[in-house]
């Protein structure tokens, strides 16, 4: 029984469940809300927020998981979103470590920058795997919009991912 609870208390299982719910809103609500004709990337937001909340390594793993789930509903090359989102999580964690005790605005900046970079990298990576035609000037506008949106919603996302990935002292005591 204790082992069962340990499994369901696993950080990555929590992240998986969060990813599942967020993905369902990504394909429905956020698919409809398209400011400036750009689809908001909440899966990418969660990936970057994971890095800020739990560090580069956890961010990379969580980002990879979210990207993998996103790939399941896309027709783009399978594994590409996993790669790029994993990078976003890792980068966000890395940027966040530049500050000793990052303030709220620095967390927003980390998420925004890594999201911006991930959107730019995606078409470039797709070109590498043989899917051309995505690398256009429009990508810059998309990257800026996604970066700003993700920065704006970074704090609640970081809070959510901290709940999922970082065990509280109470949980650690209970596990012992």
């Amino acid at each position: 029984m204790k082992r069962f609870f340990a499994i369901i208390e696993s950080p990555y299982l929590r992240a998986l469940l969060i990813g599942f719910i967020v993905l369902s809103f990504q394909t429905t609500l956020f698919n409809t809300l398209r400011p400036f004709s750009v689809v908001m990337q909440v899966m990418l937001l969660c990936s970057a927020a994971s890095g800020v909340a739990a560090g580069s390594e956890s961010g990379a793993i969580a980002g990879f998981m979210f990207g993998f789930m996103y790939d399941m509903v896309l027709t783009s090359p399978f594994g590409l979103s996993a790669l790029v989102f994993g990078f976003a999580g890792y980068m966000a964690g890395g940027v966040n470590t530049f500050a000793y005790s990052p303030r709220w605005w620095f967390k927003m900046l980390s998420v925004g920058i890594s999201s911006f970079a991930a959107v730019l990298i995606y078409p470039a990576a797709s070109l590498v795997v043989g899917v051309d035609g995505l690398l256009q000037t429009r990508v810059i506008g998309v990257a800026v919009t996604v970066g700003l949106f993700n920065a704006a919603f970074a704090l609640p996302a970081v809070f959510m991912m901290r709940w999922a990935l970082v065990k509280s002292k109470k949980q650690l005591l209970w596990a012992e």
């Binding site: 698919n31 990879f64 594994g79 590409l80």
Partner: protein, 377 residues
């Protein structure tokens, strides 16, 4: 628990991604199977999220799109009234054309079964342009089949599960299709000098060698209809004069005369000039490729030639067909929006305005025609 170092973690994630990409690009059934299984689990969750988020989506649409919708609705009502008459005439013409094709044993679109499906989802990506349909393998849909709507070509099926299928739009950069495009003016034809002793059925008015004005919807003289015979009793000569009818022409479709080759050993009656019969202009085949969101597809590999004549905007574009083509022949794609001339031997680029409005798709028709190139070996 084993703790990964940073470097090991990055290497493992990178290798896993490469492995997944390799599996996907090698088109193994594994990726499709995993996606299908995920879809089975995910679809109920998505439906639930859809129910919850619909009010918010409707509010957003109401705020952002309301005024545009009103304007569009009024414009569409006007358009509908105009189109009703044209549609009846067009239906009659299409039926006639299909009968003619059937009489000659040629394939027609009418002979291809189709499935009507509803668009139930759109790609959440900013890069791919795909739609999800509520029909799948159980309705006979397979990868590669062509999707159309009432107006024209929409795209092709790129993924199928039991009850769902994914359509790649014709504007997606990955989409390519062979199409036919005609010239706006007829090419220069030589007027045949007919010996005075031969029987000539010649239309009155300008000679057939005249250059016609670009098809701009104006009225130009075309097909001749029932002949009026004018006989002069005082002489032995009977001249048959074909009366010219005036009708509205469609861009890219202008009549010209056909001159039959001389009959071998035919003596003095060497040539017969057949009157104008509204024959289609010669058409050139090119490759249409999508250019991404907010950009029109372009046609490449069209070579301007004396035979083809001049290329211009407004000319209809239809699918080329053929055993290797992704779509059956003569499916309406759209019209040429712009001709971009290029220097050298690269030939012009033609931007295509698609007949189908891809921004507001609801019901579409999937032609149950699987191209030879898409049939699994």
């Amino acid at each position: 628990m084993y703790s990964f170092t940073r470097r090991r973690l990055i290497v493992v994630l990178l290798l896993t991604s490469v492995l997944l990409l390799t599996l996907d690009r090698s088109e193994s059934g594994l990726v499709g199977g995993v996606k299908d299984a995920f879809g089975v689990v995910f679809r109920p969750v998505e439906s639930f999220a859809n129910v919850i988020s619909r009010p918010l989506s409707n509010v957003w649409r109401g705020v952002v799109d309301y005024s545009d919708m009103r304007k569009e609705n009024l414009a569409l009502k006007d358009l509908l009234v105009k189109q009703e008459g044209a549609a009846i005439a067009a239906t009659a013409s299409v039926r006639e054309a299909q009968e003619l094709l059937a009489l000659n044993g040629l394939p027609t679109l009418a002979g291809i079964d189709s499935v009507t499906a509803q668009v139930v989802g759109q790609s959440p990506s900013n890069f791919t342009q795909t739609f999800e349909l509520n029909r799948g393998k159980s309705s006979g849909i397979r990868v590669g089949m062509t999707v159309t709507n009432g107006a024209g070509l929409v795209g092709k099926i790129t993924g199928v599960t039991l009850e769902r299928s994914v359509v790649m739009l014709a504007t997606d950069p990955q989409y390519a299709m062979s199409v036919k495009v005609g010239a706006c003016t007829r090419p220069n034809t030589t007027t045949t000098a007919v010996p005075s002793s031969s029987t000539t059925l010649a239309p009155s008015g300008p000679s057939t060698g005249d250059t016609m004005a670009p098809g701009d919807g104006s009225t130009t003289p075309v097909l001749t209809v029932p002949p009026t015979t004018t006989s002069t009793t005082s002489t032995t000569t009977t001249t048959t004069v074909l009366q010219r009818a005036t009708t509205t022409t469609i861009k890219g479709f202008t009549p010209f005369a056909t001159t039959l080759p001389p009959v071998p050993g035919g003596g003095f009656a060497s040539q017969i000039t057949v009157p104008e019969t509204g024959v289609l202009l010669p058409r050139e085949t090119g490759a249409m490729e999508g250019q991404g969101i907010d950009r029109l597809p372009v046609i490449r590999f069209i070579q301007t030639s004396a035979r083809l004549g001049e290329l211009c905007a407004g000319v209809p574009v239809v699918t080329a067909g053929g055993s290797q083509s992704l779509a059956p022949a003569d499916l309406v794609v759209g019209t040429v929006a712009r001709v971009i001339t290029r220097s050298g031997t690269s030939g012009p680029l033609l931007e295509v305005e698609l007949a189908a409005n891809l921004q507001s798709l609801n019901f579409v028709r999937v032609l149950l025609y699987q191209p030879a190139t898409e049939i699994p070996q």
